[in-house]
Amino acid sequence: MRNVMAVAGKELRAYFHSPIAYLVMTVYTAIGGFVFYSSTAFFALQSFRMEAQGGMGMPPLSLNEYVIRPILGGVLTVVLLFLIPLITMRLYAEEKRSGTIELLLTSPLTDMEIILGKFLGSMILFAILEALTFVYFAILFIYGNPNAKPLIANALGFLLYGGALMAMGMWISTFTKNQIIAGAVGLAAFLLLYLLDWVSAYSQTTAGQVMSYIALTTHFDNFSKGVIQLSDVVYYLSVVMLGIFLTARSVEALKGRP
């Protein structure tokens, strides 16, 4: 554990020593902020309209539906497709290019300690990102009365979704010395995984259903509705474990076959 923490600390420091962490946080908060403003404004407008029509016995509009869901469940899941590759592309590619991989692999660390350390380090950065969105939600709680429980489900889903992308991105980063390639391949793979759900619109065959099931977004729907379903949690955790497993295999291959 000590070793995992040492590697995680190193990764995290590397992000904050370089522009990456700040770039990612800026893009994330800028887009998140715009969506927050737009959806709050829209929510306010809709509420006024309802008021003007006398409510007509309808329940009041939900802040969760109108603001939190578009942010965490909508726009930011797409933003992550671009930002996570920026975070993961350097994980192995940079070590390979600068030769520091030799330091790590000749230190008394197991491959798994290195992988988990890297994953943890990047996940801490991601957790910081997600925490930044809670600034917006805090504003909602101060001026409105959103429901906390669906928010928790949403936040958990977002963390799992980010973790799944992170593990896959880390695996892709082991293939090359070139960070740009690692980033671009990551982005392409994530986009494809994201869009796989479209199959369900026209195909009801088994293959179509499987593809739709594999899609990253399918399993996010329940979370964004505020429902934590075991199958969804298991799906994301499986993707995380698959990514870590594939990274381990790839690092093994990196060392050359005996």
């Binding site: 590697v7 420091r13 030799e102 692999l105 050359g256």
Partner: protein, 324 residues
């Protein structure tokens, strides 16, 4: 301290190291000498556990590098050819990180860090970013990194490559000072370096060990015979055969061939001058003798001899090219 037994390493179809065996005693500084591409780095990478061997066994401080990699790695310090530094970190941040992953306890880290920074003479840059340091300083940081956990075994891959002469002398002094407490293997393709820093030398070429011994021994062994260079016009194979039969000649090697002339190296027993006999043999056979001289081998020439590619092969290739 380091036992390498019949080590082979294959990258796909190419055999980088084949059947290498040697031992390094505790406290010894061993030089690993060979031209670029000889298999030095590969051998070192296997010793440090970076690459698994294809065949053979490597033990560091009694621990098999494949069977008990963590124990072996804990006792090994490694400086690759390019120092494995993170340019974004400061020197002390970096060394603290390396100390932690090498298993230095938190309690000892501070004293180890101060000691190593002092010893490797990086005190005045300890709070500077490594990326902004000169090559010489970076190399010293690399050395400090290899030493931070006070390893039994130190593996240094070309520790003086790319340094200026003053830095080279300083680095050599530092390495010499390491012998005794640490067991050191260092690789180099520069011959004088070996005689200046090492107690024993392993010469490797094309993945094979060519010679082992102290620098003095190697010199003596190779100078244990006389070498005469002969340039003759005539059929190379016949000439070689004829010379081989001259009394006192040990062996004949081709060195160069062009324009129908061959230059041969004729090795003979010490203090036996075969020049007159060679001249006679040449003239008797009706070949033309162009040059005949003794060759005193300098250290550099011994090295060239030991480790350059098979000259006969090169000469034939050249002759073939000329013929086409």
């Amino acid at each position: 301290m380091i036992e390498v037994e019949n080590l082979s390493k294959r990258y796909g179809p190419t055999l980088a190291v084949s059947g290498v065996s040697f031992n390094v005693q505790k406290g010894e500084v061993l030089g690993f000498l060979g031209p670029n591409g000889a298999g030095k780095t590969t051998t070192m990478r296997v010793i440090t556990g970076f690459l698994p061997p294809t065949e053979g066994k490597v033990r560091v401080a009694g621990y098999d590098v494949v069977g008990e990699p963590l124990e072996a790695k804990r006792r090994t310090g490694y400086l690759p050819e390019t120092p494995p530094v993170y340019p974004d970190m400061t020197v002390s941040e970096y060394l603290a990180f390396v100390g932690r992953i090498k298993g230095v306890s938190r309690r000892d880290l501070k004293t180890r860090l101060d000691g190593i920074i002092e010893r490797c003479a990086v005190t005045d840059v300890r709070n500077r970013q490594i990326g902004k340091l000169s090559k010489g300083y970076r190399q010293r940081v690399g050395l400090a990194q290899a030493l931070i956990h006070n390893p039994d075994v130190l593996v240094l891959d070309e520790p003086t490559a790319g340094l200026d002469p003053k830095q080279i002398i300083e680095t050599r002094e530092l390495i010499k000072g390491l012998g005794g407490q640490h067991t050191v293997i260092l690789s180099t393709h520069i011959l004088p370096e070996v005689s200046k820093t090492c107690q024993r030398v392993v010469v490797i070429n094309a993945g094979l060990i060519v010679a082992v011994g102290t620098p003095d021994e190697l010199t003596r062994r190779l100078q244990g015979f006389e070498t005469v260079l002969v340039t003759v016009e005539g059929p190379a194979a016949e000439i070689m055969e004829k010379f081989q039969r001259v009394g006192g000649v040990n062996w004949v090697e081709p060195r160069d061939a062009h324009d129908g002339r061959v230059t041969l190296e004729v090795h003979s027993e010490k203090e036996k001058d075969v020049r007159a006999e060679l001249a006679r043999a040449t003239v008797e056979s009706g070949w033309k003798l162009y040059e005949l001289k003794t060759s005193g081998l300098s250290l550099e020439e011994i090295f060239l001899k030991l480790t350059t590619k098979d000259l006969s092969e090169e000469a034939t290739a050249k002759a073939e090219k000329a013929a086409n």
